[in-house]
């Protein structure tokens, strides 16, 4: 299918005796936001690891925009435009926030060995563009005033925000967000949701792991529920959260307690 952004077929992965992914099937269409929910330990982050090349699957195949990428290394997958964030932020702590952002852009001309010398002006112009874009994104994530601070001096929640902000620097086609709102102030989370929605209108496709069910409901077109490494339910967000099995195993009373 032409509009298929990501297709996961029969993917399995075990760690010792634990089956973290069990014949997982999942499809994402271009321009949609797909929520991935499930209990702690269901294998959600493992699935992200496999798709983004941080883990090799034991079985199954993964196709990105129709191209088979099973077993590819992470950097090659990232260059294709499939970018992921981590649940535990991976900032370079001894670089500034702005430098972290500027590194997020893939394939800069200045990275080639001779370009900085023979194409100095082009490189400089590119760097200015990247800097402007970085500053604009930082501003939106409430990090503008922190741009010259070391990333290591950010608070836990701010590191989380930097992680998401940096992923946008890479001009992703498909963005995998691993619990982007955990530890982020609720008011800011709601503004970020509006931002993510406008990114989708511009054609970005997103898969998001998130325990904040209101955020999942507000964002997602489709929701997959993972349990013990396998897809347990799939559908429109409101259908999924009213599914009895999902309520019992995962949501508990949590859903209606959100006032």
């Amino acid at each position: 299918m032409a509009d298929e952004m990501l297709s996961i077929k029969g993917v399995s992965k075990s760690f010792g005796g634990i089956l973290a992914a069990d014949k997982c099937n999942l499809t994402i269409s271009r321009g949609t936001i797909v929520g991935l929910i499930g209990p702690n330990g269901a294998g959600k982050s493992t699935l992200f690891d496999i798709v983004s090349g941080f883990q090799r699957p034991d079985a199954g195949s993964i196709a990105f925009q129709g191209k088979e990428i099973t077993g590819w290394p992470a950097y090659k997958i990232a260059r294709l435009g499939l970018i992921r964030t981590f649940q535990i932020p991976h900032a370079l702590t001894r670089m500034t926030v702005l430098e972290n952002m500027m590194l997020g852009k893939q394939g800069q001309i200045g990275e080639r060995i001779c370009s900085p010398i023979i194409r100095f002006n082009i490189v400089r112009a590119e760097e200015k563009n990247i800097r402007d874009k970085a500053l604009e994104i930082l501003e939106f994530f409430d990090l503008g005033h922190m741009k010259d601070e070391y990333a290591g001096s950010l608070s836990g929640g701010q590191k989380k925000l930097l992680e998401m902000a940096r992923s946008l620097m890479a001009d992703p086609q498909l963005l995998l967000l691993d619990e982007p709102f955990a530890g982020v102030n609720p008011s800011l989370s709601e503004r970020l949701i509006e931002r993510i929605k406008t990114l989708r209108q511009k054609g970005l496709t997103i898969m998001i792991i998130e325990h904040g069910i209101p955020y999942v409901l507000a964002l997602s077109d489709w929701v997959y529920v993972l349990n013990k490494g396998a897809v347990m339910a799939y559908g429109k967000p409101d259908e999924v959260v009213s599914d009895k099995r999902v309520l019992d195993d995962y949501l508990g009373d949590g859903c209606d307690a959100q006032t």
């Binding site: 608070s155 929640g157 530890g183 949501l251």
Partner: protein
């Protein structure tokens, strides 16, 4: 009611810069108090300052009528203050039992009774007592981290974002457990981004912004305040 913890115009940071300035607050014995605020407001720094982990530049801290300004972390633990940080911080390669024993590091003499009382509060840890802690789910690890802090039977428990990254069902169990610990006689101060749920089990709340006190009041009145909701709690869909 006796005041358990009182901060008077606390100023602190990690480097030369101050992250929190002139913060004053108090916690009564038996209360649950929640600190909320935007990211980078200084909530975690405040908690680390109480626990002696930052450079304190000004102000005084009192705990149960005794001044504890500048006291070292291990002295604070012996006095009855316990702290569970934001990051997952259990010893992944040790078993659940060994983790709990590490929590008893400052206790001299027998600890079997103490471990038993922890297992009564957290029955789910009993079946996992010999399991390596790193192989448990996020929720179980968080319960273990709190259990380990409880081994010393603290009178004040500091919790930094206990609910982060937990699934909704586990999160509700955790907040219920925090309330239960409080009812058993431990005073609790927590920092939370799931502000509505945290305030729901709290007596009072403080809102920090840019390293300073912004609002304070009974939890109920914070939840009902339109400005507080718009600025800090979100619409809460």
């Amino acid at each position: 009611m006796a005041v358990m913890l009182r901060l008077e115009k606390i100023t602190a940071g990690f480097t030369d810069e101050n992250i929190i300035s002139d913060i004053s607050l108090y916690i009564d014995e038996g209360e649950v108090v929640t600190i909320i605020g935007p990211n980078g407001a200084g909530k975690s720094t405040l908690m680390k300052t109480i626990f002696g982990l930052t450079k304190l530049r000004g102000g005084k801290i009192y705990f149960e009528d005794q001044e504890i300004t500048g006291k070292k972390t291990d002295e604070l633990v012996r006095l009855g203050v316990a702290y569970v940080p934001q990051e997952r911080n259990i010893f992944a390669s040790l078993t659940v039992k060994e983790n709990l024993e590490m929590g008893a590091y400052v206790i001299k003499g027998k600890i079997a009774d103490k471990l038993e009382s922890i297992l009564e509060i957290f029955p789910m840890l009993r079946g996992r007592i010999g399991q390596r802690a790193g192989t448990m789910s996020g929720g179980e690890q968080k319960m273990l981290a709190i259990g380990r802090a409880m081994v010393v039977e603290p009178s004040l428990l500091l919790l930094d974002e206990p609910s982060a990254a937990l699934s909704p069902k586990i999160m509700d169990q955790l907040f219920a457990k925090i309330k239960e610990i409080n009812e058993l006689g431990t005073t609790i101060m927590m920092v939370e981004q799931n502000a509505r749920k945290a305030l729901a089990i709290s007596e009072r709340g403080y809102i920090l912004e840019m390293g300073r006190n912004r609002f304070e009041g009974p939890a109920r009145s914070l939840l009902d305040d339109a400005d507080v909701c718009r600025l800090y709690l979100g619409r809460g869909r």
